[in-house]
Symmetry: C2
Subunit: 215 residues, 2 copies
């Protein structure tokens, strides 16, 4: 009986932690890391501020975890798209397009994940995840070289070029003023047409970079 | 006479400020922003620590200025290379190659400027400067389209792709472990041959991205 009580408490604790994370994630997706506040997250989650600190040592730790979760989701989506059918170039196109579309449909979160100036610790996580994206692209490019659908190239460096090109190109469109690194107060919502107009030139550059063929 | 004294003091003050900045720059180029310390910079400059704070409000302000100076120098180099003779693709190649070579020859400083996790304020400057690079590339691409040496494309987006591709690709080689965002304790010195081996695939990707032609 005592054991079951403990188990129940453990589950309840895990559930509260999860709820705090969900609310923090939502908070960042609405206002970026800069505007995210512990007391606001606590209120959203229906817990006391102190409870948040029982689950996460500091604000930085909570938001580093939010960053990890949100980025892992995006990395997984890229991996899924790359695992689909078709030649390497088609799979790369699908993955790049999906990455860009998801970013432009959730511009605040994407801006926060890709470019918002953040605590050096979160910035460190950001660099790690960019390597994770690059590794997925590298594998697909390697397969393309293997199957003969892509010309010989340094798959690792081409992969980092892809990650850099798409991330950098999205920074501008995601940023409200197209220039400054400030967060959108009211993030612009782009129409599907505007999103496609932005994405096409980026995909063209990336695919040309990898294939050496005019698209 | 009083006026000339004041002028002399102004000059002397400016000279001390300059010396502090030079020493801070050297300090970052040896150990990155993370290891740079005000008291060490003061010692190098032969002034008291308090003197540094009379010229710069805070450590962040001093190193933000170091960041600006060092980055401006690199942006100017890119602009110079782009202003040289030749078709747009040749000029772009020259600028990209020079950027990469300079980075790989001064890996600690380059890592600090491009990727070291830094204070959000410095990170904000970083985003600004990446726009400055992109604007120079954009102009050259626009000229290439105009002269017919490059295919029609969105010059702005291609330019951001170039900046992202080259910066991202250098992050790995500049980083000691090729994975983690930690600073090199003992930065690897690459031979000229190793540097060329790294640079070629990056230049190929970038030029193919812009020209749509196999290089």
């Amino acid at each position: 009986m005592a054991y079951r009580e403990t188990e129940k408490m453990r589950l309840r604790k895990a559930e509260v932690r999860e709820r705090i994370l969900d609310c923090a994630l939502q908070s960042v997706s609405e206002g970026g890391f800069r505007n995210a506040q512990i007391n606001q997250v606590a209120e959203m989650a229906g817990v006391a501020t102190g409870t948040v600190y029982r689950h996460f040592e500091s604000k930085t730790e909570l938001f580093a975890e939010v960053f990890r979760r949100a980025t892992e989701r995006e990395v997984d989506k890229v991996a899924e798209a790359l695992a689909g059918p078709g030649h390497a170039a088609e799979r790369l196109e699908r993955a790049l397009r999906q990455f860009a579309e998801r970013a432009l449909h959730g511009p605040v979160m994407a801006w926060s994940l890709i470019a918002e100036p953040v605590d050096p610790r979160v910035e460190g996580e950001r660099l790690e995840y960019r390597r994770a994206y690059a590794e997925h692209f590298e594998r697909a490019i390697g397969e393309g070289i293997e199957e003969g659908s892509l010309p010989p190239q340094d798959a690792r460096l081409s992969a980092t070029c892809l990650v850099g090109a798409i991330a950098e190109s999205l920074v501008g469109p995601l940023s409200p003023t197209q220039r400054t690194p400030t967060l959108p107060e009211q993030p612009a919502t782009l129409s599907d047409g505007q999103i496609q107009t932005l994405i096409e030139p980026i995909i063209t550059f990336c695919l040309q970079g990898v294939t050496g063929q005019r698209r």
